[in-house]
Subunit: 640 residues, 2 copies
């Protein structure tokens, strides 16, 4: 097999690979990180590299202009090595770490009347053992069991091999005085004996914290709240991008990646690294050690849960869309690979179906939908859009693949909501000149989701695009023009942009945005139709997910993403998933209610529903084929 030398600049990293190797694989082998948000499918163009010398064969040039190709650009995920090659890797969009910080920590209220003795199954015991002697050669473990029996009335106790490995030293370190943390009850095995989680030398003080972690694994962001289970207080809140992002931006790309050889292990490690790093950061903030965290609850969509646990997720993607497990059994941190106490009980909250996971069960509980009499629409928009309609009496749910457009991916100049992202746009309806606001007030680099919603709404209201999303090229402005990818509108001229190039929105981008918003709106329609209730009857719309924190309701209604109703019916709840995990961490009754919610939600599979397709097509217009559904937009248009 012929081998070739691939050189990566500016790293000056060399690697030798056989003919036919993908440049992205060569980069991986060389330890050069090249982001592949679309999972290596040639869709996103984020892995563009410049071939300076040598032979590569391009399998696909989707996302590259003919000019790009002429200059030597190639998609690393779509180009194979055919000779010695020298490749230049352009500076990647540097992911800025946008942390949810302590500023919201104070906002989390401990549930009224929290009493760990009633709500928790964890107990902390301080034991004093009789030392052994020649006349009493009882083995260490039996001696400890005897102390549990005498001092805590516990007749039988489960213990792990890893604890037995440490027991001898721990018992002797502080002269047979120890503090033990015991889980007296396992939610999925009520008849099982109590389980010894932690054993430490010496006697803990009564007020010493007992740490727990509530975790939400989002496709994009992982959030963790560190909680003192003695008081119930959230002592640290941290968040970080999910380390899997570089291997695919949406769940489908990640499932595909995980299905490749070694992909599942890589996915598992990546998200574990993210979580374990968050644990460390949070623990540092409160002066605790990670192995003092003795309980965790985890929420997340079904794909994230499968990937975390190393369970193949491929059947989630393929009809008839089946998860391996919705109700994950009780596990230990050691089994999962979480770097907290190895014996910590880890509770992966229950999901409903392939595309309605534990994040939604947790969100429905924490948002209060599970317990309200008002007809409520709960919406969690991330890379996927999940929605639940109902009251305390009934719940229907569905999910639609919005795609990553609202998160800045799948759009030519899309980017995440970091420094340099245009987050709001206004367009003069005579001159068609735009005004915009950029995050951190620097030179613009692209659009984030809220910027795109805002831009699309303005273009529609000013007639730059028609209701079908077609760009009007006959307007008296140089900003609408025929570009490399078809008709486009220039928001920022090269002279004003960060990289000196025009920042535009193209017809293709608009199509992606239309598809995303149409898919979400069609979801609402189907949900309402499924129970024979008009959308207008909805008394409140609860919006969860980090997406909800930045969205402009008015603009979202104008493009037909959100239903047209008085703005005061919309509430933004932030991360409802991690909040649900927090409640479940504190209270076994809350855990049980989340399970009940998961069981009683009726899931509607949209891919099997022809009416969804009709609703989707009807919603592929601005704001909708049926303008009467959007009276406020109709009114605005008539005055425009």
């Amino acid at each position: 097999m012929t081998e070739h030398l691939v050189t990566f600049e500016p790293f000056a990293t060399l690697v030798r690979v056989p003919t036919g190797t993908l440049l992205s694989e060569a980069a991986h082998l060389a330890g050069v990180e090249i982001g592949q948000p679309c999972g290596g499918q040639g869709r996103c163009g984020r892995c563009t590299v410049l071939v300076k010398a040598g032979a590569v064969r391009r399998r696909s040039t989707l996302r590259l202009s003919s000019e790009d190709i002429a200059q030597g650009y190639a998609l690393a995920c779509q180009s194979v090595v055919e000779g010695d090659v020298s490749v230049y890797v352009p500076p990647q969009e540097k992911i800025e770490r946008r942390l949810t910080t302590d500023r919201t920590a104070g906002e989390v209220e401990v549930p009224a009347g929290y009493n760990p003795l009633l709500s928790q199954s964890l107990r902390r015991y301080r034991l004093m053992l009789a030392p052994p002697s020649i006349d009493d050669q009882t083995d260490d473990w039996s001696r400890l069991q005897l102390a549990f029996k005498q001092e805590a009335g516990i007749e039988e106790m489960k213990v792990s091999l890893s604890t037995l490995r440490k027991i001898g030293d721990i018992l002797r370190e502080d002269d047979w005085r120890v503090t033990a943390i015991v889980d007296t009850e396992t939610w999925d095995c009520p008849n099982c004996p109590p389980r010894l989680i932690d054993l430490r030398p010496g006697h803990a003080m009564l007020n010493d914290p007992v740490w727990g972690a509530a975790i939400d694994i989002g496709t994009t962001t992982v959030s963790l709240w560190l909680v003192d289970l003695v008081t119930g207080q959230v002592q640290a809140q941290v968040a970080e991008y999910n380390g899997q992002i570089a291997r695919g931006e949406d769940v489908i790309s990640r499932i595909i990646f995980a299905g490749k050889n070694g992909g599942s292990d890589q996915m598992r490690s990546l998200v574990l690294e993210t979580i374990n790093q968050l644990v460390e950061t949070a623990c540092k903030r409160v002066n605790a050690r990670p192995d003092e965290v003795v309980r965790a609850t985890i929420a997340g969509n079904s794909t994230m849960m499968h990937l975390l646990l190393g369970i193949p997720a491929s059947n989630i993607r393929l009809a008839p869309f089946i998860t391996a497990v919705n109700h994950v059994p009780s596990l230990t941190a050691e089994e999962i690979g979480l770097a907290i106490h190895p014996q910590a009980s880890v509770d992966c909250l229950p999901g409903v179906a392939s595309y309605v996971g534990a994040d939604i069960s947790a969100g429905v509980y924490s948002s209060g939908l599970g317990d309200t009499e008002k007809l409520t629409l709960f919406l969690d928009v991330g890379t996927n859009g999940e929605m639940v309609l109902g009251t305390r009496e009934w719940l229907v749910t569905c999910a639609c693949s919005a795609g990553p457009a609202f998160e800045g991916a799948g759009v030519l100049h899309g980017m995440r909501a970091t420094k340099g992202a245009i987050e709001e746009v206004w367009i003069n309806n005579h001159t068609y000149e735009p005004t915009y606001r950029v995050i951190s007030s620097v030179k613009a680099r692209g659009f984030c989701g809220s910027g795109l919603i805002s831009l699309l709404a303005e273009m529609f209201l000013t007639g730059i695009v028609d209701k079908g999303g077609n760009v009007n090229l006959s307007l008296n402005t140089p900003r609408t023009r025929e570009g490399e990818h078809g008709p486009e509108y220039v928001v920022v001229w090269g002279a004003d942009s960060a990289d000196g190039k025009d920042i535009v929105i193209t017809r293709v981008d608009i199509d992606n945005l239309l598809r995303a918003k149409a898919s979400i709106y069609a979801g609402f329609t189907i949900l309402a139709d499924s129970v024979g209730i008009p959308l207008e009857a909805v008394e409140q719309v609860l919006i969860g997910g980090s997406f909800g924190k930045y969205i402009n309701v008015e603009k979202a209604v104008q493009i037909g993403l959100l239903p047209d109703m008085p703005w005061d019916r919309f509430s933004f709840l932030g991360n409802t998933s991690v909040r649900g995990a927090y409640y479940a961490l504190l209270d076994k009754d809350a855990r049980e209610k989340i399970r009940e919610i998961a069981v009683r939600m009726t899931y509607i599979e949209l891919s099997a529903d022809n009416t969804f397709y009709d609703a989707f097509i009807s919603a592929m217009f601005l704001p909708h084929t049926d303008l009467s559904r959007f009276p406020s937009v109709e009114a605005t248009l008539s005055t425009a």
Copy 2:
């Protein structure tokens, strides 16, 4: 830090180490294996190497003659590098693999009336699941649980993460037909739900075997019986030296080694390698795959059990001699590291105390002592000597450290019972010329245990040694002489030996043998005294352990190792420990009886017993200070 180059011949292996590094460590770093039966304490002399050039400092020269030292020999475990060194490693005694083979396989009878439905908690189910569809998106695990409920009446089931990782593929491989093996009962958690052990695509045939393994971990030999749990038949018996031997020949050396940095992990890996190799060999013999073995029971002394499980054993060695755990909880193969089915239930049988382990609980059960009305002495002599006295009504037990002398270690020309070992000796009482039998009839290389017992008895009966073990140098024979290590008797002249050197037994060797036999005999005495029964009242002596298979009762009585009683009271049972593990593997009632035996044995700690020391000193003579205890020997002497 100064570094030096150490060269090992004949391997021509180089390694660079700092000043002060032990030669044994340097060898280890260089990948050169040097046996250290005594655990690197300079006691056994097996790591002798020849320093051909360069500077080493000898910390201890125990076991080396001044001539050896003059020639450049050094103990690798006791010599530190002080400059560049060139070392020659002499050919090590090559361990010949003496396997307990199929010849005894036929001897094992399945317990009468074995019925797996009554005796086993394992069940095999053949399930047919309804395939999922868009209208039935139940997750895989819930779907399987439903089948268990409908077809087997199992309401709740425990499952491991590793099984959940495979469930999706297995269910789909043969069109939703699967065979499951379920453990319906865990001995240490009677209220726990059944546990799913194995899930395979397709339907097994009714007569297909369900494999289990009974394992005995001896300090010297590991034995494994592979059993078809459907019929109860032992289908393969295999045995192999414990891979830990090179790190110490007795339990004390191993505990010391395990206490060193990384030693515990090394000990664990070594014994796991041995067991896993045995599993593979046995499985090959019956055309099974190791992952088809779904249950195992393990017996072994307390140190072996701790080392297998990676539990520190140091407190076993130190007063007041405490084990970390005698009743090991139910574990899975995955947790232990056994290369059988990862979810196989592994039952480590219960031990009694630091020096009376699960091998004795299992031996007492399988020997029938636990259920006899006859006053019985059960004896298991290996590197340690454990003994139990009693009837079905009561049991007392003790252990004494016999040392490895009877296994050929701690004796100048001692060796294992392999090719070239002298196993029987006769001495002419006029000429003092010996006749001897060598294993495999080749030139003699040394003495194994039975050879040493035989030799000592003959020397005593012919007056070459007196009752104190002193060699009579005034006899008219060149075979008794003053040697390097004091007085000695030459059994084989160099001209007739394998390596051309005289094979001798020295005064020091005799002392070691006396100590070993005295310690065992003193154990009997204390046991009998502790219940106020004379030794002569014992109605049967059951001898377990591989040692028992080769011993010559007459000679053993003559040196005072075994009590003097009619030979027909002695029975040799072979490996009673693996047999007990086999019974426990087959039958949960047998398992429970072994537990009861472990609990009801009264352990006598000899080190805390002054009378033991007195009894030991009295037994340090041939056959004993009190000759009246050995009437048959007295009779022989009077006729000699």
